[in-house]
């Protein structure tokens, strides 16, 4: 078995492009996922029955089906509904934002539920409206409690972006795969990709662990 990394130099830029796409997709899905996830969590905990039922349905639906399946959904549906062929790369942004929102929602909901009832009552007693109480009292504490969980979910998300491979998008894995097939270097390329994903995910998860320990001491 001889490993041949000589073709790597020529493929560098292409791989870098793919890697940048993976990162962009991760960050954008995290930002929109947390934003929509927060709204969903508030909707799920709302006392307005139809609203909370709709939010629960959304969350349970997306948490029950494979991400790969959802990637196909949007890959096929978006052009069908809009009539525009947006392509695999761009439809993935929508897919991941919508899909991840369901997962972030549950984390944020757990965070909100971890706030003692007395805090909520104290905010109300000060005269805060529902929105003000959320904004100034509940959410800041809820987020603080679940920052490690949100970050861990983001590491999972980073790894999951590799699934856009199935619709032919050129993320890190997609780029490596294309290079691998062109140069016939499957072994080298897949090992390289595994190493890159491992290094980043491992480093991030260690950082989260340290952060978690720090937060645990402060409380």
């Amino acid at each position: 078995m001889n490993l041949d990394f000589s073709t790597l130099a020529g493929a560098q830029d292409f791989l870098w492009q793919g890697f940048k796409y993976s990162l962009t997709l991760t960050v954008s899905s995290m930002v929109f996922g947390i934003f929509f996830g927060t709204l969903l969590a508030m909707a799920r905990m709302s006392s307005i029955k139809p609203l909370s039922l709709a939010a629960a349905g959304y969350v349970n639906l997306f948490r029950s089906v494979p991400l790969v399946l959802v990637i196909f959904w949007f890959y096929i549906l978006v052009p069908l509904l809009t009539g525009v062929d947006v392509g695999a790369e761009r439809s993935a942004f929508l897919t991941f934002a919508i899909f991840e929102a369901a997962y972030y929602c549950e984390i944020i909901r757990a965070g909100i539920q971890s706030i003692p009832r007395g805090q909520i009552a104290a905010g109300q007693a000060m005269g805060f409206s529902y929105g003000q109480n959320m904004r100034y009292v509940i959410l800041p504490q809820a987020f603080r409690n679940v920052v490690p969980l949100l970050l861990t979910q983001t590491i999972v998300l980073f790894q999951d972006t590799s699934l856009v491979y199935v619709v032919g998008a050129t993320d890190l894995l997609g780029a490596a795969d294309k290079v691998a097939h062109r140069d016939n270097t499957l072994v080298e390329m897949y090992m390289l990709v595994a190493l890159i994903y491992f290094s980043i995910s491992f480093a991030l998860s260690q950082a989260v662990k340290r952060l978690h320990a720090r937060i645990a001491i402060v409380r």
Partner: protein, 248 residues
């Protein structure tokens, strides 16, 4: 969208040019999904429990090794792990074994999917088992040892029976994940449910993807629901009177 021709009976139609029907494809796909998930789950439970236990034993090197195992399998995307098992491993093993893996291993996609998914999930199971053991009061282990149990017996009779009960809820969610994650195996050509959906919507019935996708999604929901019920039943059957839930 306005010209979309709805046809909900598309899954009942015959595949043109063959003796087969689309629903048969979907049924076969569901069969592979379930078979893959269940086989991988057995592997994940066995290996995961072992690694999880090793992470809690009072031996630094053993625990460190087990930790390294978990980190490796947790920090590489599942699809990449599938490719490593399927494309890379045969090239790294001794030549003859590699040839066998590539040419005569029975059900190569299924076998690889089970192994990849099983080991991937085992790292997660190991984490849950470890958490379960650590959630037990410290005194439990000492009580076991004080009664003259060996360390092995203490795990077997004192720690694990409680730890497993504690981790049933998180294991339920891992069990559901394994069904969902089995869809990733379509990347190495396993003809599971999502693979069949892609097959049907992509080449044979491009006009009716929404119906097919809806049916397939409903099948996954059905699987998730069933798994949830089964695990709830197990949780009820194994409940210890007077013990509410883990960690306290």
């Amino acid at each position: 969208m306005s010209q979309y021709q709805w046809n909900w009976s598309v899954v009942l139609e015959q595949v043109s040019g063959t003796e087969e029907f689309y629903y048969q494809w979907l049924a076969a796909g569901l069969g592979w999904t379930v078979a893959t998930a269940l086989s991988a789950w057995v592997l994940a439970l066995v290996v995961g429990s072992l690694i999880g236990i090793l992470r809690t034993v009072p031996s630094k090197p053993v625990a460190a090794l087990a930790t390294a195992y978990v980190e490796v399998f947790r920090n590489i995307p599942l699809i990449v792990q599938m490719f490593l098992w399927f494309f890379v491993l045969p090239e790294l093993v001794p030549h003859n074994l590699g040839i066998w893996m590539k040419q005569s291993m029975p059900l190569p996609e299924f076998t690889t999917a089970v192994i990849a998914l099983g080991f991937f999930t085992s790292a997660r199971v190991a984490e849950q088992v470890r958490t379960g053991i650590l959630a037990l009061p410290r005194g439990q282990k000492n009580a076991g040892l004080a009664m003259g149990f060996t360390l092995g017996q203490t795990y077997r009779y004192v720690l694990l029976p409680m730890a497993y009960r504690i981790v049933i809820p998180p294991l339920t969610s891992e069990f559901m994940n394994i069904f969902k994650n089995s869809a990733v195996a379509l990347a190495i050509g396993l003809t599971e449910l999502t693979f069949q959906m892609r097959q049907i919507t992509g080449e044979y019935a491009p006009a009716n993807p929404i119906e097919v996708m809806t049916v397939v999604s409903a099948l996954y929901l059905l699987v998730a629901f069933s798994v949830n019920r089964v695990m709830a039943l197990i949780e009820r059957k194994t409940r210890v009177p007077g013990y509410i839930s883990g960690g306290h």
